[in-house]
């Protein structure tokens, strides 16, 4: 079996660096609109929650080891530990914020003066509810929070279709920015499940969960299975809508980079579906005979597609949204150096990780991979100005792009950045303290 190195520690560093830098830049910028600041804070805290969750996962992997199958943790070993409890609760908090994001970005859908209080209240209430619920039910109903993604999915899909149809009808290219950001958010939130779209259409995914359940001898609850299936279905629906929309747009207006990204994910999902079908005997072996291991090629494929999309490409995608939609003030000279450092740092981390991954299964000598990394570093340093400029170039906020969609007095009340950060800082502390208390008392994992 090929030993693929875990991407989780890298994802933790990348997410935390980007999240903290985002909050830092937004905190210093006073001129940004409150809508941008809310969106930036939400993205920043999503990244921090994900980053902290990945830190916990990395600790668990380091201590107990990751299973070769989908790099998952052995639940029988990690259940009841502080790191496992905290990881799940932080992930749950990130999911709550992700579910609320489409209400505030690209447009403030509620569009009332109290919508920020709704955001803070809903985030606190949902996090408190899921934290308590999961702790008391010993995580038997984990994934229940996936149902929260339904409203956001409806908003983003409707927005994507609405803007792509208008763009094609009027040949108004500035509307592309809106359909693209709706699509990017769909990929950011549902990216992993998009790569399982064919398996979901063929209804193969349930066999994989059946296998996992038999292997771990843990029976997930109806709510947990429902949550997983909901997320898989939303991801499938999203990629099919995006693919149909982009195919139509390509036919009418020509190919675009976002169209290429969509088609790549679509093709990955198609190949993954065929691969899933090919290993169905192995999947069913747990039920019919005894659990057989997946072939090495199957695990490598999974690591390079679904897992890399979640751990490596999603932060880059969020970074693109932050910069290209002027959520952080890219025009200010003081912010430029920090943005340049972050962009280069993230691209380098991701490139070197990909190289390491390739090296883990291809017999490439260290000297060649070092040389390849040096080439990548050289390219990034040499073209640093160009890369950063191309990311920032043409960046414009939603308000600048489509001012006719924003009410003149729309929600531009003073946004209290400190209150927002204090609230989410308290949520983080709450999760850590409660996890420590519950695991210390021996309540979890019984």
């Amino acid at each position: 079996m090929v030993e693929i190195q875990s991407m989780v520690p890298i994802a933790a560093v990348v997410d935390l660096v980007l999240g903290i830098a985002t909050l830092s830049i937004i905190g210093r910028s006073k001129i940004e609109s409150s809508s941008n600041r809310i969106a930036g804070c939400m993205l920043g805290w999503i990244l921090i929650f994900l980053g902290l969750s990945y830190v916990m996962t990395a600790i668990l992997e380091f201590r107990y080891g990751a299973q070769s199958e989908f790099s998952s943790l052995d639940l029988n070993k990690v259940s009841g530990t502080f790191a496992f409890t905290t990881k799940n609760l932080l992930l749950s908090a990130a999911l709550v914020l992700m579910a609320l994001l489409p209400f505030f970005f690209p447009f403030r859908i509620i569009d009332r003066g109290w919508d920020v209080w709704f955001l803070i209240g809903a985030a606190c209430a949902a996090t408190a509810f899921f934290t308590t619920f999961h702790l008391l039910s010993d995580f038997n109903h984990i994934n229940l929070e996936n149902f929260l993604h339904v409203p956001g999915y409806l908003i983003l899909v409707a927005m994507y279709i609405r803007f792509i149809t208008t763009e094609v009808r009027d040949n108004d290219l500035k509307l592309r920015k809106i359909s693209m950001v709706a699509g990017l958010l769909l990929i950011g939130i549902h990216g992993e499940t998009m790569t399982y779209w064919l398996s979901q259409v063929l209804s193969l995914n349930d066999y994989f969960f059946q296998r996992q359940s038999i292997q771990t001898a843990l029976n997930p609850s109806l709510a947990s299975w429902g949550g997983v299936n909901m997320r898989l279905t939303l991801g499938t629906g999203a990629i099919l809508v995006l693919c149909a929309g982009e195919a139509w747009r390509t036919y009418k207006l020509g190919i675009s980079p976002f169209g290429v990204l969509t088609f790549i994910i679509f093709i990955i999902g198609f190949i993954a579906g065929i691969a899933d079908y090919a290993v169905m005997d192995i999947v069913r072996s747990c039920y019919e005979t005894s659990c057989q291991d997946f072939p090495a090629a199957y695990s490598i494929w999974y690591d390079f597609t679904s897992e890399a999309l979640v751990y490596l490409y999603t932060p880059i995608l969020f970074m693109f949204i932050l910069l290209h939609y002027d959520i952080v003030d890219t025009k200010r000279e003081e912010n430029r150096w920090l943005i340049r450092i972050i962009v280069i740092l993230m691209l380098l981390i991701v490139s070197s990780t990909i190289l390491e991954l390739i090296q883990s299964f291809l017999p490439i000598p260290d000297m060649i991979s070092s040389a390849a990394l040096a080439i990548v570093v050289g390219v990034f340093i040499g073209w640093e100005e160009k890369i950063v400029s191309s990311l920032i170039e043409g960046s414009a906020s939603i308000q600048e792009t489509v001012p006719d969609f924003i009410h003149a007095n729309s929600g531009e009340q003073e946004f209290n950045f400190k209150t927002f950060n204090l609230t989410f800082g308290c949520i983080t502390a709450f999760i850590f303290v409660v996890s420590l208390l519950f695991t210390g008392l021996g309540v979890m994992g019984g």
Partner: protein
Amino acid sequence: MVPAQETRNPLFTKESRTPTIVAFSLTLLLLVVTVGDFMDDLEVTAAFTSKSPEWRIDFDTQNESMQVVETLQDDETRNVEFDLSEINVPEGYLIGHIEAIVTSEEVEGFSGQCDSVAADIIENDLTAQWDSEENNLSGQDSSCMPIVLELVVYPDYNGESMVVSAINEYQALLNWTLDGWGDGVLSIDLDLDVNAPLGFDPIGSDTDEEITVDVTVTMFSVSIEKTD
């Protein structure tokens, strides 16, 4: 200003309404179909993992024998070997157990003096349960009785029927389908110490002994039956 009003709504226009409803409907349809499948699998999995039925495992045995007759001199130690690859193991059978019976030619008679015979199964590369408590690898006799040596070859095999708990037939039989046990050569050391009749043999007429080693290899196949 109808178009201006139309463009203000960030979610719908007249022409986007139909594709949006189609997209939502397809998502709902997919959800309904997959939920149905998930529910079925949930029930099956729960039933599968919650109960572990009991299975009765019976062993059908066949024996294969080999014999060696050796004449040993007084105070001689001799090694005899039995190559187990020469045994014809029927399809579906595995080697479970080896029994070696060492018999000397001499019968206890008037003199009341039997030769002293010792036999040891020598641990070597033969794949077997060398540390099993059921083994009897050494024996000695000076009363003209046969020496019985035993070696368990297949893990936990004792020839008796058993009841196991497992989630399916395959897993119940998993421990009884392992290949590779019983490969190698059975090596036995024989040792003779001649005892003269009444302890007196002036012309040295009793200096050797004919020793017979009978090896019986027990092979088994398993049959399984659900008990509840």
